[in-house]
C-alpha cells in the first residue's frame, strides 16, 4: 500500500455517476458446491476460525523510493482513468481466482482488505470478480463485513469510488503520506498537494462508512514544522481513522542506498522520536484514540481487519507476496509475480499451499506453540489494550513453565522506567504512550529473552 501512482493529466473530477451499476455479486450456489468439492482434494486449507481475507493487488504506476513490498510497476500510462486497461490486471485476477479455488466452506468473512500496490488502479469489474469469488468460496457477511481498500490520490475520481462502493467496499484508506509537496516528490511519489486535496474531497463525497488518512513520518528533509502542518491538515480533513507509519529503510530500496538511519537528510533519532510524540499528542487531542502503535481512530472506527492481525486471529491471504495465517501457520507466498503464478499453477496446487520452503516435515508442536506465543506477545503489545498475561500459562505453559511470571519479571525494570504499565494484579501489561511505544523493540526482545531461558528463572 505504500506505492502510489499519480493522477494523470486527464484526471477527471466530478465525473457523472451515470453508468455505475449495482455491482454487488450474486451468489452462485452451484459454483460454490463445486469449489468446496475441489478444495477437499487439497489439504483442507480453509480454517473454519478464519473470518478475514487479505487480497494483494500489486500494481503501481511506479515504485516509491522507500518501498520494498511486492509491487509491479506499470509505467505512466497505467493511471489514465478509463484508458485502455493493461491486460495484466485481468491475468493477475484470474490467477488470484485460481488460488482461491482451493478453499471453501468455513464461516463467513467479516473483513476483506485489498492492499497493494495501488488497489485503486484495478478497474471495478476486476474487483467484482474477486469479491464474487470470495463470496462463493466463503460467503461474505454483507450486513456487517468491513471491506477495505487502499486508494492513492491521483488514481481515482469520485465516480470510481462510487463504483467501488457499490461493489460493497465500505472503507478506504487513502495514501496521503504528507501534505508537504516537496516531501512527496523526494519520496518518489508524483501526486502533489493538489491531488491530495481533490482526493480527500472525493472520498468524503463518496460516503464510505469509514475512511482512513495514511501518513508517514521520518521522511528525508522532514522538519517538526512540516510534520505539525501535515498533522493539522490531516485533522482538518476529518478522517475517521489516521495511520502514521515511521519511515523504515529496507535493504533493497533506493532510500537504503541513499540514506543512513538517523543521519541527514533523514531526521535525527531524537527528532524522529519527537515526530512520533507530536502525532500521539495532536491526534489524541483531536479525539482519535491511539489504539495501535501506528494507528489512531475515532471510536468505532478501528480497522477491524488489522485488528484481526494484531489479535493474532487466523486470516486468509491471496496474491503475490501475501502472508496467510491458518491453522496456526503463517504461509508467505512468493514475492515475484512469475514465481507466484508458477506456484499457484504448479507446486502450490499439488501440496495445498504450504510455505514455499517447506521441507515436508511437520513442525514440532511445542516449537509451533512457542512461535505462536512470540507472535501473540509481539502483536498484542502494539495495541493499546496490551497483552493479557492472565491465561498465558493455560495456553502456553507446557512442562510447568511459568510463562506469566517470566513475562512480568521481564518488564519489571521497564515498568520502573515508565515504559510499561502493568495492570493491577498483573493481569495485563501494555506499553506506555508514547515513551514505551517508542522503545517497543527493546521491551519485547527482553520478554523474548525471558521466555527463552532454559531454566525457570531464579
Amino acid at each position: 500500500m505504500l506505492a502510489r501512482g499519480a493522477l494523470g493529466p486527464a484526471a477527471a473530477r466530478g465525473l457523472l455517476l451515470e453508468g455505475t451499476r449495482a455491482l454487488r455479486p450474486q451468489r452462485r450456489v452451484g459454483d460454490r458446491r463445486e469449489l468446496a468439492a475441489r478444495a477437499s482434494e487439497g489439504c483442507g486449507a480453509n480454517d473454519p476460525a478464519a473470518r478475514s481475507a487479505y487480497v494483494h493487488l500489486p500494481f503501481c504506476r511506479r515504485k516509491c523510493f522507500y518501498c520494498d513490498f511486492p509491487v509491479v510497476a506499470l509505467g505512466e500510462g497505467a493511471t489514465e482513468l478509463r484508458a485502455q486497461e493493461p491486460e495484466i490486471y485481468g491475468r493477475y485476477v484470474s490467477t488470484l481466482l485460481r488460488e482461491m479455488e482451493h478453499y471453501g466452506g468455513g464461516g463467513k468473512l467479516r473483513t476483506v482488505f485489498f492492499g497493494g500496490g495501488t488497489p485503486s488502479l484495478i478497474p471495478p469489474r476486476h474487483l467484482e470478480r474477486v469479491l464474487g469469488r470470495l463470496d462463493d468460496a466463503f460467503g461474505i457477511d454483507w450486513g456487517n463485513a468491513e471491506i477495505s481498500m487502499e486508494c492513492d490520490p491521483g488514481t481515482f475520481d469520485l465516480q470510481r469510488l462510487v463504483e467501488y462502493r457499490s461493489l460493497g467496499v465500505n472503507r478506504v484508506s487513502v495514501g496521503v503520506q504528507s501534505f508537504d509537496g516537496r516531501l512527496l516528490e523526494l519520496c518518489g511519489r508524483s501526486h502533489g498537494e493538489g491531488d491530495v486535496l481533490r482526493a480527500l474531497d472525493d472520498v468524503r463525497a463518496a460516503g464510505f462508512d469509514s475512511w482512513s488518512l495514511d501518513l508517514m513520518f521520518g521522511l528525508p528533509h522532514q522538519t517538526a514544522e512540516s510534520w505539525a502542518e501535515t498533522l493539522e491538515m490531516a485533522v482538518a480533513a476529518d478522517p475517521d481513522h489516521v495511520s502514521c507509519y515511521g519511515l523504515q529503510l529496507d535493504d533493497s530500496t533506493p532510500f537504503a542506498r541513499w540514506y543512513t538511519e538517523g543521519e541527514g537528510p533523514l531526521p535525527s533519532e531524537p527528532l524522529a522520536a519527537d515526530l512520533f510524540r507530536m502525532a500521539s499528542r495532536e491526534l489524541q487531542g483531536a479525539g482519535y484514540s491511539h489504539y495501535e502503535i501506528s494507528n489512531y481512530a475515532r471510536e468505532g472506527h478501528e480497522c477491524r481487519h488489522n485488528l484481526a492481525y494484531w489479535r493474532d486471529d487466523p486470516f486468509y491471504a491471496f496474491g503475490v507476496g501475501a502472508t496467510s495465517s491458518l491453522h496456526g501457520r503463517r504461509v508467505a507466498r512468493p514475492k515475484k509475480l512469475s514465481r507466484y503464478e508458477q506456484w499457484v499453477e504448479g507446486e502450490g496446487r499439488k501440496v495445498g499451499f504450504p510455505p514455499p520452503d517447506w521441507s515436508g516435515a511437520p513442525l514440532r508442536e511445542d516449537e509451533d506453540e512457542d512461535e505462536r506465543l512470540l507472535d501473540l506477545i509481539m502483536l498484542s503489545l502494539r495495541l493499546k489494550s496490551g497483552l493479557r498475561v492472565n491465561g498465558l500459562n493455560e495456553r502456553f505453559g507446557r512442562a510447568g513453565r511459568d510463562v506469566e511470571r517470566r513475562v512480568l519479571a521481564a518488564v519489571e525494570g521497564h515498568a520502573a522506567e515508565g515504559l510499561v504499565s502493568v495492570s493491577e494484579g498483573g493481569h495485563a501489561i501494555r506499553l506506555t504512550d508514547p515513551e514505551g511505544l517508542l522503545l517497543s523493540n527493546s521491551v519485547i526482545s527482553d520478554i523474548f529473552v525471558a521466555l527463552d531461558d532454559d531454566e525457570d528463572g531464579e
Partner: protein
C-alpha cells in the same frame, strides 16, 4: 616432523593383534581430534613392527641388537618453512621406515593440526626411530622433533637435551632467519654437535653459497654446510652419513648404572593414559618394572615400553642411549612433567638430571564462555585440552562483567593463542578472552617483600610503600629484516619501548637486529605491525631476558562511573592517554545506546585521561506489520533477543558479548 603426527595413532586404541603388531583404530572421542581425522587403519603405510628385515628378524629385535655406540640421537632445527618436515619425510622414506614414498596427498601439509598449518609451527613434537646403513653396519638413528616456537623453548631445550647433535637447516632462498639464530643458540647451550645444511638447493632463487657463508659468519659454525634438497632427496643420504660421522654416540652405562631416563615429551591417550617419550640415559627398563618420577615422586608400574618406528611398536626393553615410549596408565599428565627424570622405584638414590624447571606461566588470560550457560561445557573442554598440555595453569575466576570463567596461565603469547584456537576449533567452544596479561613483580626497594601480579585486578597501589618498584618481564628479540625497511623496524621497536642491543649486517641485503623489549609490548599488534612494515619479510624470535623496572600504571575504564573489571589494563604511564582514548572511543562505537545517556571514561587512579559520551536511545524502528507478514519484524526481534541472551554487564549497562573480543583487543 609434524607430518608424523597423523600417522601416529596418538589417541587411538591400541590392540595387540595375533602378529604382535599394534593395530591402530580410530577413536572418535579422541582429544587429538586434528590427528585422528586423517587416520584410518587402512591408511597406515609404514614399516610395520611385524615386518621382517632381510635376515628375517623383526624390527624391534634388529634394533635391540644395535649397540649403544651405533646409536645417534639428533633433531632437526630450522626456521618456519625452511623444510624441516619435508626433510623428515624424506629421511623416513630413505631409511625404509615408510614402506613407500609419500605422495602429495598424504604428505605433511594435510596431516598437520589445523593450528599448525595456519601458523606454520609445530605445537607438539614427534619422534621416530629409524635404521640407517652406513659402512656395512646398521645404525640406529633417533630423530627427535622439537616444537617450533619460542613459547615452547623449554620443551625445545628438553627435546634437544635428549640428543647429542642436531641438523641446522637453512633455506637457501631465505638465508638465516630469526628462528635459525635462536635455535642455533639453544643447541649450542645444550652442547650439541651442529650439522649445518642448506636446503632447497634445487630452487631457482637458491643462493647456497651465500647462505653457507652466513652460517659461518653469523652463527660462527665452523663445519661445512651440506647441500640438500629435501624435496628431491638430493644430498639427504650424505646428510645422514654426516650425522653418523659427526654426531657422537650417546654416553651410557647400560649394565653398571641404575635406570635413569629423561622425559622430553608426554601426551595423553584416552585409553592408555599418559604416554611419555623418554631418552634412556643409563640402565634399562621393561614392562612390569615400577618407576618413579624424581620431580613429583609419583610411582607407577610400567605397562609397556616401545619404539616409535614411527608407529608405536612394543619392544621387550628400552636400554641406555635409546629413545622410546613408556606407558604407565597414569591419568594426569601433570604427574610426570616434561623435563622430569624417571627412575626405578627401588633406586632411591638416583639423582635427577639437571635442567628440570617447574612450569612458569609467562602470560595469563581470562577465558569466559560467550553465554553463561556454556560454562560447564567450557570447563570440560579446558580439562580435556589440559590433559594433553599440562603446561597450562588453570584457575577459576569470576568477573563481575563476564560472570564465571577461568584465568589460565600460558608459556607465552602464542601458546595462549593456540590454546584458544584449539578450544574453538577442536571443542567447538565460543569464548571471550581477555588481552594476555604478562605477570609483574612488585618489590620493595630493600628487597624485603616480593609479590607477583597475575592480573590487573591484583594491582593494589594503595598498599604499596613509596619505595615499591614494579618489574616487568623483558625479552631479547631477534629480528631479521631487509635493509630497506630497517628504519621502520627500529621505529617500531622504539615505539614499543625497546632498546637496541645489536645491529648486524647479514650479507648485503639483510640486517639482524637484537632488541630488549618488554614482553607485554609483544602481546598486542607488534608482530602484525612488524610483518606489515616489512611487507612480510621480517622475522621475529625472542627469548626471556629477566625483569626490568618500569613506570606502569593501572588504567581503568568506567561506564557511568562504575569500574568495569574486565577492561582494566596495566600500561606504561606514557601510553595511558592514547590507550585510554582508544578504549573509550572503541567502547562508544561498539556499545548500543541505552535508554539513558552513558559516560565512558578511562581513568588512572582518580584522574580521568579520556572520556566519551554515548547519547541515549530515543526510539526503536516502528516497523509496520504489512499484510499480516510479521516474519520480518519477528526476525528483527529474535536477533535482538539472541544478542541480549549473550549480554554481559558493564556496570549498569548490558553489552552484547560479541562486543567483548573487540573491546578486549
Amino acid at each position: 616432523m609434524a607430518s608424523l603426527l597423523a600417522r601416529l595413532p596418538r589417541g587411538s586404541v591400541w590392540r595387540l593383534s595375533a602378529a604382535m603388531a599394534l593395530v591402530p583404530e580410530v577413536a572418535p572421542l579422541d582429544p587429538w581430534v586434528g590427528l585422528g581425522k586423517a587416520l584410518s587403519s587402512t591408511s597406515c603405510r609404514t614399516f610395520a613392527s611385524g615386518a621382517l628385515d632381510e635376515d628375517g628378524r623383526r624390527l624391534p629385535d634388529l634394533i635391540a641388537s644395535i649397540p649403544a655406540d651405533r646409536i645417534r640421537n639428533f633433531s632437526i632445527v630450522a626456521h618456519i618453512d625452511h623444510g624441516k618436515s619435508t626433510l623428515a619425510d624424506r629421511i623416513l622414506e630413505m631409511t625404509g621406515a615408510l614402506a613407500y614414498p609419500l605422495d602429495k596427498q598424504s604428505s605433511q601439509v594435510l596431516d598437520k593440526l589445523s593450528v599448525e598449518r595456519e601458523r606454520g609451527i609445530t605445537v607438539k613434537a614427534q619422534t621416530a626411530t629409524i635404521v640407517h646403513e652406513y659402512g656395512g653396519h646398521a645404525y640406529l638413528l633417533n630423530l627427535v622433533d622439537t616444537p617450533g616456537h619460542v613459547d615452547f623453548s623449554y620443551e625445545v631445550s628438553r627435546s634437544l637435551s635428549a640428543c647429542e647433535g642436531c641438523v641446522l637447516l637453512v633455506d637457501a632462498t631465505q638465508g638465516i632467519q630469526a628462528q635459525t639464530v635462536s635455535n642455533c643458540l639453544l643447541a649450542l647451550e645444550e652442547d650439541l654437535e651442529i650439522v649445518p645444511a642448506v636446503n632447497k638447493i634445487d630452487a631457482p632463487a637458491a643462493e647456497p653459497e651465500e647462505c653457507a657463508r652466513q652460517i659461518e659468519d653469523v652463527l660462527g659454525l665452523g663445519a661445512e654446510a651440506l647441500r640438500v634438497s629435501a624435496k628431491t632427496g638430493e644430498g639427504v643420504a650424505a646428510l645422514l652419513n654426516a650425522v653418523v660421522e659427526r654426531v657422537p654416540p650417546p654416553r651410557t652405562e647400560r649394565d653398571t648404572k641404575p635406570f635413569k631416563a629423561l622425559i622430553f615429551d608426554a601426551h595423553h591417550d584416552q585409553f592408555r593414559g599418559v604416554v611419555c617419550l623418554c631418552r634412556v640415559v643409563d640402565g634399562s627398563i621393561k614392562a612390569g618394572d615400577r618407576v618413579a618420577s624424581c620431580g613429583t615422586g609419583t610411582e607407577l608400574e610400567v605397562l609397556e615400553v616401545g619404539l616409535m618406528c614411527p608407529e608405536p611398536t612394543e619392544c621387550e626393553r628400552l636400554e641406555g642411549g635409546q629413545i622410546g615410549y613408556v606407558v604407565t596408565g597414569m591419568k594426569n599428565s601433570a604427574d610426570f612433567r616434561i623435563g622430569d627424570t624417571l627412575r626405578k622405584s627401588v633406586d632411591v638414590g638416583v639423582e635427577a638430571l639437571p635442567g628440570f624447571k617447574p612450569i612458569k606461566s609467562m602470560c595469563f588470560g581470562g577465558i569466559f564462555p560467550a553465554a553463561t550457560d556454556e560454562y560447564e561445557s567450557l570447563k570440560r573442554a579446558i580439562e580435556k585440552l589440559t590433559l594433553n598440555d599440562s603446561s597450562v595453569v588453570v584457575h577459576r575466576e569470576s568477573s563481575q562483567a563476564m560472570g564465571p570463567g577461568f584465568r589460565c596461565g600460558f608459556l607465552g603469547l602464542l601458546h595462549m593463542e593456540v590454546f584458544l584456537q584449539r578450544l574453538e576449533e577442536e571443542h567447538g567452544q565460543s569464548v571471550v578472552s581477555t588481552k594476555p596479561f604478562v605477570p609483574l613483580l612488585v618489590v620493595e626497594a630493600d628487597g624485603s617483600r616480593e609479590r607477583e601480579i597475575l592480573s590487573p585486578g591484583d594491582w593494589d597501589e594503595v598498599k604499596w610503600g613509596r619505595t615499591t618498584r614494579v618489574l616487568e618481564p623483558v625479552v631479547l628479540a631477534t629480528i631479521v629484516c631487509p635493509n630497506t625497511v630497517v628504519g621502520k623496524v627500529i621505529t617500531l621497536c622504539h615505539d614499543h619501548r625497546g632498546t637496541q642491543v645489536d645491529h648486524t649486517a647479514l650479507g648485503s641485503q639483510r640486517v639482524m637486529l637484537r632488541y630488549r623489549l618488554p614482553l607485554t609490548e609483544l602481546a598486542g599488534d607488534f608482530y602484525d605491525s612488524l610483518k606489515g612494515c616489512s611487507s612480510g619479510y621480517a622475522t621475529l624470535e625472542y627469548e626471556e631476558a629477566g625483569h626490568e623496572e618500569a613506570d606502569l600504571v593501572k588504567l581503568d575504564v568506567r561506564v557511568n562511573g562504575e569500574v568495569v573489571d574486565s577492561l582494566a589494563r596495566v600500561v606504561h604511564r606514557d601510553h595511558a592517554f592514547p590507550v585510554g582514548k582508544a578504549m573509550v572511543s572503541r567502547l562508544k562505537k561498539l556499545l548500543d545506546r541505552q535508554a539513558f545517556e552513558l559516560a565512558l571514561q578511562a581513568v588512572v587512579g582518580s584522574k580521568v585521561v579520556a572520556r566519551e559520551t554515548l547519547a541515549a536511545l530515543r526510539k526503536d524502528v516502528l516497523a509496520k506489520c504489512y499484510g499480516g507478514d510479521v516474519s520480518r519484524k519477528k526476525k528483527l526481534l529474535k536477533k535482538q533477543k539472541e544478542g541480549k541472551k549473550r549480554l554481559k554487564s558493564l556496570g549498569s549497562v548490558n553489552v552484547p558479548v560479541e562486543v567483548f573480543p573487540q573491546l578486549l583487543k
